[in-house]
Point group: C2
Chain length 248, copies 2
Amino acid sequence: MNAQASVKLNKSSFTPLYHQIEQALRRQIEQGELAPGQAISERELSEKLKVSRMTARQALSALREDGLIYTERGRGTFVAEQKLTVHTRQLLGFTEDMRRRGLGASSKVLAFRKLRPEAAIAEKLKLDEDEEAFEITRLRLADRVPMAYETCFVAAPLCPKLKCADVERGSLYQILEQEYDVRLGHADEVLEAACATAREAELLSIKPRAAVLVVTRTVYATDDTPIEVVRSVYRGDRYQATIKLKRR
Amino acid sequence: MNAQASVKLNKSSFTPLYHQIEQALRRQIEQGELAPGQAISERELSEKLKVSRMTARQALSALREDGLIYTERGRGTFVAEQKLTVHTRQLLGFTEDMRRRGLGASSKVLAFRKLRPEAAIAEKLKLDEDEEAFEITRLRLADRVPMAYETCFVAAPLCPKLKCADVERGSLYQILEQEYDVRLGHADEVLEAACATAREAELLSIKPRAAVLVVTRTVYATDDTPIEVVRSVYRGDRYQATIKLKRR
DNA sequence: CCGTACTAGTGGACTAGACCACTAGATTAC
DNA sequence: GTAATCTAGTGGTCTAGTCCACTAGTACGG
């Protein structure tokens, strides 16, 4: 118990206190320092960290949102059991998504171009007449088996120096966040079922016209600038999307 | 302007003030009394309604979560444009879902039974050995065209007197909330793509082996009691699921 | 004409309290 | 023994403020 006592807060930092607390607790829960069932009292937390209770509550509410903790009225707040199967729908890249599923992700870049995308894409990315986008086509593998076929368009002005080699090396989201200081905010996704085209079937090693899950995602930065439009074609027999819904 | 001045709060009600404010503003936005772009000031709202600013903020944060309003630092909070296509993933019944898409929902009950469900379902519903569930199979129509084929299992102890006629008349969720005082809390959904079986294809008027979106949902009450397990098979060519994702 | 400085207004973060309903365990009364 | 009561602790809600960074418009000075 009292693991939360070890949290050190930097009151002069630019990151808000509630966010520092949230991150610290998140780390402790994910690393098992705070065991499932462990109680976390709002008052105790606020006293130990010398912040007001409202600030502690704000930190906890974010963790509750993500299902890491749960609260029972009159009893207390407790660390939740780790549920691997269902997770809150977070904005994750393919690599992160697969790691959460316990699979090793890898990918093969099939095409890397800089071009003027078709009108529908350009509009979603809010590109001006003369602006271009990178078109990156990748085959996504999970434990070395094809899982998805993905085409993404990234607004070129955001990452003018993007190279094919960068994308081959690592996560696109990581590059954007670390190299170009683009902070990812939210995304809108559309999921639909379709039949694989001949080309998709071949690349994914499935039968032609087999069922695939098509996910079209538009990603925005924290300031709501559109960053990327991705169309991912997942193998219907190997991929499931999980979502947590709330009433009102 | 100043439409929010008309909100009447009941300070002695059991529903929290922030929730009353949230509901009132939600109604005003949905009915167009507050036009898109209209500014809503936290301080003005709190002064007009004679509540503290924190309470007003709490109401607004829920609306922001649902995308009904947006906030720009230093500028203000504004009513968002109505985006019909993408909506926050809320726990909605088929009827509500279709209405949001501007379609008229209807359904045909194909089967209504009370039975001991298979082990996997019974476990999800946390049924005891001797407890039963209602199995309801429905064909869901949108604007009179088949849209989904749905089988749901509802824990019988929760709504012992449920009749086939009730389900034929209206929304199951409405019956549970109004007749049996079951308050819906959240749900976990799994979405996957599959090929329609012969029976599904026939009922949905699509070709055999056409792509369908299979949604399996477990619904919980606010106290986390499992209520219902539903398996919905949507026509792949007519239905898309939309989701909003957030980063951290 | 163009910057610069001022100012009013905004949301973001935070505090230090308050009262309430609820839970669970201990104590007391019968 | 059992039922009623008390009590400490919990989260839920709410108040009435504070200070800060940011925005946008306005006035002023060169």
